[in-house]
């Protein structure tokens, strides 16, 4: 799931649940998730144990 799609779905859900104040936090989380995914290249999948 792309971060844009995730953020839209999350904000829509927060709105539906009556939590509009959650939106700026979700936007912050989206930026953190983008940085996390950027770091994904650091993980050497050939060395992961089962």
């Amino acid at each position: 799931m792309t971060i844009d799609a995730w953020l839209k779905a999350a904000c829509d859900d927060a709105e539906r649940r009556g939590l509009p104040d959650l939106k700026p936090l979700l936007e912050t989380l989206a930026r953190a998730t983008a940085a996390l995914r950027d770091a994904d290249r650091l993980i050497d999948r050939t060395r992961l144990e089962p």
């Binding site: 927060a14 959650l22 989380l29 650091l42």
Partner: protein
Amino acid sequence: MRATVLSIGQVSPLVKSGEVSPVDLVRTCLERIDARPELNAFITIMRDSAAAAALAAEQEIAAGRYRGPLHGIPVSVKDLVDVAGTPTTSGSAVPPRMPLADAPIVARLREAGAIIVGKTNLHEFAFGTTSEESAFGPVRHPRDGSRSAGGSSGGAAVALVEGMCFASVGTDTGGSIRIPSAACGTVGLKPTYGELPCDGIVALSTTLDHVGPIARSVADAALMFRVMKSGAQAAPRPSPVQRPYVFGIPEAYFCDRLHPGVRAALARTRESLARAGHQIRPVNVEHAERTAHVYLHIVLPEAAWYHAQLLAAHADRYSPGVRLRLEMGRYVLAEDYVRALHLRTLLRQAVNDALKGCDALLLPTMTIPAPTLGEATVDVDGVREPVRGTMLKLTQLFNMTGHPAIALPAGTTDDGWPVSVQLVGHLDGTDRLIDTAAAVEPYSTGGDGSVGGGTG
């Protein structure tokens, strides 16, 4: 000097000899609690049970049944930790749990003769760094009530510096023992992950949660830690051999933006250690700049999982800010949580690599002194930063990697606010870290009992 500002190391021989009675110690601590209710340090004060335990301790000691250096010593317990017969409120208006049994670490302290005077206030469910979101009022800094005492174990640190107890039990998921220790000028120890059991403690993030002591000296913290780990039978460790220690200072990320008073404290400590013959070397913790992003994707979903049922039943009873952070965790994708877990492994290896050839890493505990309550951002060396983010910046990595870490008082800023340095030791090397911290303590001002000055 008031007995309640002595360290345990200073007062316990007096208790053993009968020169000081546990009854008087408990009475004095209760008087100190009553003297400053505006600090909101305690949620539950255990007057009757503490008085009864003190009388029993006095009689046992008089009869020659001295249990050890915690016998008859008043301590406090963060109200996230179960103490049989008292509510565990977690600082929340959510209905508390009513434990029938002590958490194991509490049982061990009691077995060693420690007397619990009460349960201390905290940031609700330990999910914050300032201790201001609590159903029992914000914990206020003893030096200036408009400032935070740090968090989440804010009440624990305030209780100690105000002489309301001789040591406190805190918990630490991102820095919650070390941050209030830095803000208030106490010693705070986070052991290696898993070394002390978190059974009987309300979880925040089960793979990041730690429990440990807040104390007036390294020796007191060591005593508390060993009893919390092994009970009354904890074997005293011999004094470490005096030798030059090797400290690695990670400049990048950890020192790139600090309050000038914090930077000066680190420089003072570094120079004093070097003059005393210890070795200081620069080190690098690779990928440290990834810390906050990785941490967020672990703590949020783990906290959301733990609170899912309580949120379903009592969402309106949480503080708004804490509730929103918990709700945020429900939106973290499983894929990103797993990604964060793998990156945590990478960070653990990076800390191990930085520690190679060193006894410990030496860095500040917190980038700033105690912040003002109610502020969302704070000035850090000329730049506005989010309060929560900057308070966690130097501590949360070691919750993820599990390395033991200890906060030591390091004097004050020019205007008198406590500042702190942190030592980080090798995995499963908490005892070695304590020995190293004991060697550093004389060189980071504060030391035994003076709690870093500036405590009002």
